[in-house]
């Protein structure tokens, strides 16, 4: 199991302060578990092909694969790994949200299901918004919100790079 590099704690505290506790937990879990050997895309594609072939699966009863042990992320690499993880994780989520809102708008605009006369109303220019229902209150994300968040990614990238360079110059504990 990996030992947590104390320099990463600074980033974990920052995530918690920014109300991203879940990302702080993910970071710790990722470092704890380390890197594991993964199935190749070829093996996964072969499995998908086999499933779609409708062939009756044959019971083998012999172990074909021995599970490899995960390799811890060395303390000296954890700062860079953590910075890259935070950036990639948030950027991916924002890209997915953008793609989802695009798809929702496309579907609403292209809906051709017949409607009853009582449903007809004036056309609006409002786009589709995503609302996440929660006991603490609803969280709404619109196209403008996502665009605003994306505009700040260069600043996040630069800040993380600066921290990585600074923390990398400090001694590992």
């Amino acid at each position: 199991m990996a030992i947590l590099d104390s320099r990463v704690l600074e980033l974990i505290e920052t995530l918690v302060a920014a109300r991203l506790d879940w990302l702080a937990f993910e970071l710790i879990e990722g470092i704890r578990l380390g890197r594991t050997a993964e199935e190749s895309e070829e093996a996964l594609a072969a499995a998908r092909q086999s499933i779609r072939s409708d062939a009756q699966p044959k019971a083998r009863g012999e172990p074909l694969v021995l599970l490899a042990k995960p390799e811890p992320i060395p303390a000296g690499e954890q700062v860079e790994w953590a910075a890259a993880y935070v950036e990639e994780r948030l950027e991916t989520a924002i890209e997915q949200l953008q793609a989802s809102i695009d798809a929702l708008d496309f579907i609403v605009e292209s809906t051709n299901e017949p409607e009853g006369p009582q449903e007809a109303s004036a056309k609006t220019e409002q786009g589709t918004a995503l609302v996440l229902l929660d006991v603490e209150g609803d969280r709404k994300s619109s196209r403008e919100d996502v665009a605003g968040a994306r505009d700040h990614f260069p600043a996040l990238r630069a800040a993380l790079a600066e921290w990585t360079a600074r923390a990398g110059g400090q001694a590992t504990i």
Partner: protein, 262 residues
Amino acid sequence: MIPAVQTALDTIVGRVTTLEHASGAGRIFELFVMTSIARGLRDAGFSVWLQRSDGTIIRSRDADRRFIQRGGAPTGVPASSAGPGNASVIGFRWGRRGKWEIWNGIQFAGRSAATHEIDISIVPGSVGTEIRKAGGIPVGRPRVAIECKDVGTAGSLDEMRAFIARLYDVTLLNAHHRHMHFPDARALHPGSPNEPKHRAIVTYWQENRRTKNIIARRTGFTGGTAPLGDYHRIEPHRDITAGSSTVDALVWSVVNWARRNA
């Protein structure tokens, strides 16, 4: 604390507050998979629409164009009488054939009476219509079940095992109906059409084959998971991210199933 990083994060999270929620990023991933499939169905010629929890369709001219996702504990299907403020669904159909619904985060009851959340499920529209009369939890197996995993670590054998176990518990075979209270032996209750493809079948293998079962992951799978998925008919899809060709492969798989079955 790293002030510059915190300032940037505060601004990003302030704009997209969904990210504050413990499962917010995971819900975004599920929405991405759900809407990518819906878009793929539309591109393939299906009629596709967004539907509020009261059963009404979201139109382009509507002032209220909110697509609602549930963020808290998993639930069943809310009654339409509860209004449009609960989780939305996506409907689709081919020509004048029967309607289907794509659900997000709905609990399905299994033979054991335990309930299991299926991240993305596809069910006949008649099942949705029937349950929305009073609200409730469907019993049986959705025709398409997708487990979405938006986690940084690779998918383990335990993750695959858990999904297989869930699907086996919600599988209702013909023989199981001798001990159940349903008037007809169907794969999913209530409201499944009285058609051969919706009737309960004889073996698990047949049910595994006629349904579509997928684990969709933002990252990869650990070694050893492919044979387990292959044997139990769980398609493994890795690296599901916006703009990736892997998304096309996932969407194609579901669209192809819909062409043959919907």
